[in-house]
Symmetry: C2
Subunit: 426 residues, 2 copies
């Protein structure tokens, strides 16, 4: 099939103009791009490798681990998860000292949800929605099981695309301990108003834990200004921290010395190397440390987060809005007439940096698009292609090309030779 | 000061003979050694960089993350924590399918201790000893707080060197839910008889969680043959997995489908990519997965664990016994007359691969030994030098040189110019 660029299409020139006008024009050069004909629309699952990371990680292995050995801990490893937290804070609208890298997103959510529940004894209800990442719901059930008293997770149903804001607000009551939502939902990309939902929860005395996994490095929903209590998120998507890069957590400053850490570890001790048998929690965000961090991965995280901090969340957000709006327009013009449905919110203020498009043959189309179309999207069951637009390196021109390649996959029936199967691991 | 080698000392020749007779003679060449005059006796805190890891990690960054992007998950990342677990199993005497890499040691201990407590409802007592790593005690208190019913951690006192075996056995009763011990204790190196203590706990119906952090890759205390229930451990010490490399956990095969995972995450789901709102635990060790693993660090872990597996635990253990016995002899001959005390067990069967030696000026001596003696040991409060002997790369000759350098630091009073201070981060 023809891979383009589809220069005869009037959209081609429009895409180039949009790229030239972007505040992040040229930033793609900060990333390693081995296969220029491959269009990567999965930066919302795993961000690209920053060029800086190649030398930094090589030095981490040979210069630091190999050369400095145990002395590496005194050279900076000990404070690294706090240092990356400081870099990340402005990107997610937090204050200095409110953010730290730690564990995986799911483990962090367990810790913070459990801390929140213990801070709201006697309240039974934990609210979330059915757009949330399923792992968040699983781990809320774990936190519910291990908190004192009776607790119960309730999943507020949505229409599958838009966050059920009114139903959530109606459900909040004085028996609600905790509201947990993804700022940007993983499938449709619906993006909550963090300040409005936080205020609604606070009106009934409930705490909120936000999951920023699909939002950090893409949307601007400031946490501190919204009075957000607690948040977690991953760094391997739009923050380009590397495969499985360690996650982060946010605790509002006034809560840090009020909440005990539910998983006490020596990294959260006031004097870790006293090696005292009694746990004395340190003040500040550091108390939510548990154990030793995976340093090589954390060094990769630092590079990715530093790039996002350098670009600035304003430029990131405006670029994202432009990319997503451009993709929406092309989907409507080119793909909806070919049988695709638009599976994401229409309000630019209520979505993140990815879009889902539905098609009954989505699995087969995804395989053909990868193999023959040289476009890497995500498949999400039961019948969605998820297209991620990474503000730091995806271009309007790439989106134009990708949409037209997808049209050709359909027009030429290239998906028909692929079996129907949903066992994807992407 | 003179750095040696101290070829006039009769021990010098004896050391060379011992090295030549070692089944692991020459294995040091498998590791990057940048400073040949530096004697590294802290491989029990952070193991050296395996030569293989340099290329493997470079490929992981550029070839896999940079080149394969999200496709890396299908190329092997998804199963990697299980694959490393399979490599590690024979090194710790476990069966295939009983070991997995996951999270940090402290988080794993939280998960398994909580699972064990929930499997022993109505029993109040959690026993450990005061030789255990303090973080283990902190996190046992967390597990106690979050398990159902009243639970209480009790720390059995020791003499500071030997495990209080009789007192532990006397303390075990039908109100004991859980016994948690370090197989090899972090300071004195006392090493428990895993089979004997497991049997004693089982006689009263208690579960046991073993912490192998200071034992894995150094001692041979097989888990499966001992009927051990549960175990955790780190991979950055004798397993040479890299700084903060992810930890491992062991669950005896018949317990795997009996115990629920207390921190449910999507990696432990029977069908993770169904993204079902209901948690359905997978059978087998995989259910104790939580979230996405730090892949770069995990790839480093794989290299280190593969080396230990290749060397084999029999050769590792016999080399360790020889190195530690040799160090003991030199400490007795050279250092005890200079005011050092021997702070580790005397029975070769009851210790791991490190020794602690006490001295009232241990902090200052440690600083002088590092700066002027070119030996890297660990300091452990209040007054111990901890000397680790990594079976894969420490040589008898290095131990001979290090002991004589330490003697010179004392004889020449080189420590006297260093301030007394215990704020070490090593």
């Amino acid at each position: 099939m023809e891979l383009g660029p589809f220069t005869d299409d009037p959209g081609y020139r429009a895409a180039l103009d949009l790229d030239a006008a972007s505040p992040l024009d040229g930033w793609a050069e900060r990333f390693v791009i081995d296969e220029p004909d491959l269009i990567y629309l999965d930066g919302n699952s795993l961000g690209r490798l920053p060029r800086d990371a190649v030398d930094v990680l090589s030095h981490a292995v040979q210069g630091q681990w190999g050369g400095r050995l145990i002395r590496g801990w005194n050279d900076g490893w000990w404070e690294l998860q706090l240092e990356v937290g400081e870099l990340l804070a402005p990107v997610i609208g937090a204050e200095a000292g409110e953010v730290m890298v730690s564990d995986s997103t799911t483990v962090n959510l367990y810790k913070l949800a459990l801390a929140a529940l213990e801070a709201r004894p006697g309240r039974r209800r934990i609210l979330t929605d059915d757009l949330n990442f399923p792992s968040d719901i699983y781990v809320l059930e774990s936190a519910a099981a291990h908190a004192t008293g009776e607790r119960q997770v309730e999943v507020v149903p949505s229409d599958g695309v838009e966050g059920p804001v009114e139903a959530i607000i109606a459900a909040l009551d004085d028996d609600t301990a905790l509201l947990c939502l993804s700022v940007t939902t993983f499938k449709s990309g619906y993006t909550y108003d963090v300040a409005a939902l936080t205020a609604a929860a606070h009106r009934v005395g409930a705490m909120v834990v936000w999951d920023l996994s699909h939002a950090a490095g893409a949307v601007d929903q400031p946490l501190s200004a919204a009075g957000a209590d607690l948040a977690v998120g991953c760094t391997y998507k739009y923050l380009n921290g590397g495969p499985g890069a360690p996650a982060f957590l946010y605790v509002r400053s006034d809560l840090q010395s009020e909440l005990p850490s539910p998983v006490q570890g020596w990294f959260g001790h006031a004097d870790p190397f006293a090696l005292d048998l009694e746990f004395q929690p340190v003040d500040g965000i550091r108390r939510f440390h548990v154990g030793t961090m995976p340093i090589l991965s954390l060094i990769g995280t630092r590079v990715g987060v530093a790039l996002a901090a350098e670009a600035g969340i304003e430029a990131i957000r405006s670029t994202s809005v432009s990319l997503v709006g451009w993709a929406e327009r092309l989907i409507d013009e080119v793909l909806v007439p070919r049988g695709f449905s638009f599976g994401s919110p229409r309000d630019p203020g209520r979505r993140g940096s990815h879009l889902s498009i539905g098609h009954p043959r989505a699995w087969q189309i995804t395989q053909a698009l990868i193999d023959q179309g040289r476009v890497l999207p995500d498949f999400r069951a039961p019948h969605f292609l998820r297209l991620g637009f990474a503000p730091l390196y995806t271009t309007h021109q790439e989106i134009h090309t990708a949409v037209h390649r997808l049209a050709r996959v359909v027009d030429e029936g290239l998906w028909e030779t692929y079996p129907q199967d949903t066992s994807a691991v992407t």
